[in-house]
């Protein structure tokens, strides 16, 4: 867990250091998008560090598409 924490911190800090000065000069809309993506990164970083079984993006996809996808696969797998 510590290793993952260090790694995630390196990634996030690395990005902020590289991009920080540029972000300040961005137009408002881009700044908001940046912030939203930053928050998303923090959430996924938390998942990475803690390995918590909380919902992640594939789970969202599964919630939307999973049902039909599995039914179709089951139908195709059933021996004909």
């Amino acid at each position: 867990m510590l290793e993952n924490f260090v790694v995630a911190s390196v990634f996030i800090i690395g990005m902020l250091v590289t991009d920080g000065s540029r972000v300040k000069r961005l137009p408002r809309k881009e700044k908001w998008c940046y912030a939203v993506l930053g928050l998303a990164s923090l959430y996924v970083a938390f998942l990475f560090v803690s390995q918590a079984p909380w919902p992640n993006w594939p789970d969202v996809l599964h919630a939307v598409y999973g049902g039909p996808a599995e039914s179709l696969t089951r139908y195709l797998k059933a021996s004909g």
């Binding site: 881009e30 594939p58 195709l76």
Partner: protein, 375 residues
């Protein structure tokens, strides 16, 4: 969109190859063979046909709406709100696809080549290369990928050729022992990954040099056919090498290269396939990141089109490290859910827009007043 950046038709063809072959050539044989058995190659042919249909729809939309991307066509044909919804679904697709490709690199390297190195080392360096490439722009990417695709295809062809003594054509029979359903299953998987992903290429069409429109169509079809043939060849060779066990072999082409012995010198050439995989995945992931960024920029009408590249890469990197917790989940996501996502989102949007464009060709005037019959 920067109207000054244009890519020649041959470069577009190589980009199409990069998106289609990408990483698929090393992953593809096993899931199709697991589903369709010996008829895997038939599934490939059928799904290649489907892919050609999607490609022709993409080219049709390009002809009818020159200079407009997929999102632009959605806006024109569906209106702003439905277009925004479609764009959100496309974003959802790409936020899975991009991390999955890079997770594949990490997975390959940690399972097969360097077992003691943690996955984040590979994923992070891959994303570093990817984001710097995308930042350089599509023109630079188009320039580079011509050579890289050539190298990748050369390496794969070399391995397939050198493995000829291993092939047993009798493994290709019996053809359809389980009936037609396994064939359909294989077709369904292959139509989603990789052939259906050509739908996303519609986001790159605005960058094509419009003075070369006539050659563009021809070259894209040719490139896609070469793609189809390479993938078909890898499936056939994998079936001929491993026979009934083909479906259980992960990274079939890599395993084939393990077995190649040509004299004392050409042994253990799996490094060649490893390089091809990394190159292919790198190209496909860069193009997907570029497309993801473009969809976001066009959806939100952002002025700075490079502003979000770093946070997008960071999110994708972290997602690639948390995508799945075990191989069964990976299989579920990539070979059950993902084909459905591609078909129901990417391909459906393209087919819908094509149908609408075809229906409205007599009644609606085009945005720039030109007829849709430009060469």
């Amino acid at each position: 969109m920067n109207p000054r950046e244009t890519i020649s038709s041959s470069q577009m063809a190589f980009l199409a190859t990069a998106i289609s072959v990408g990483s698929s050539i090393v992953y593809i044989p096993s899931p199709i063979e697991q589903a369709a058995g010996n008829a895997a190659w038939l599934s490939m042919v059928a799904s290649f046909g489907f892919g050609l249909l999607i490609l022709s729809c993409v080219l049709y939309l390009n002809r009818k709406f020159p200079g407009q991307s997929l999102v632009g066509c959605c806006r024109t044909l569906l209106g702003p709100l439905p277009a925004a919804i479609a764009a959100v679904f496309l974003l959802a697709m790409l936020f899975f696809a991009l991390p999955a490709i890079v997770a594949g690199i990490g997975d390959f390297m940690t399972n097969v080549v360097m077992k003691q190195t943690p996955e984040y080392a590979f994923n992070s360096l891959s994303f570093l290369a990817i984001v710097l490439t995308v930042r350089a722009g599509i023109i630079v990417m188009a320039r580079m990928y011509l050579l890289i695709v050539f190298v990748m295809l050369l390496f794969c062809s070399t391995v397939i050729l050198l493995a000829t003594p291993l092939y047993r054509p009798e493994y290709l029979l019996p053809l359809l022992p389980g009936g037609v359903k396994p064939l359909l299953h294989g077709t369904y998987i292959a139509a989603g990954f990789p052939f259906g992903e050509i739908a996303l290429f519609a986001m790159l069409m605005p960058y094509a040099d419009r003075s070369e429109n006539a050659r563009l169509n021809r070259r894209l079809y040719l490139a896609y056919t070469v793609t189809g043939m390479m993938l078909l060849l890898s499936v056939v060779c994998s079936t001929m090498t491993f026979g009934p066990a083909a479906g259980d072999v992960q990274f079939a082409l890599f395993r084939i290269s393990y077995e190649v012995h040509v004299g004392e010198l050409f042994q253990r050439i799996e490094a060649i396939i490893g390089i091809a995989l990394i190159l292919g995945s790198y190209m496909k992931a860069s193009l997907f990141l570029f497309i993801l960024n473009r969809i976001l920029v066009e959806l939100l009408r952002l002025r700075d089109d490079k502003a979000l590249l770093y946070p997008l890469s960071l999110v994708s990197l972290l997602l690639s490290l948390t995508l799945y917790r075990n191989p069964a989940e990976f299989y579920q996501q990539v070979y059950v859910t993902w084909p459905f996502v591609v078909l129901s989102t990417g391909c459906s949007i393209v087919l819908l827009l094509t149908a609408l464009a075809w229906l409205s060709r007599r009644t609606r005037s085009l945005p720039n007043g030109r007829s849709g019959n430009a060469p």
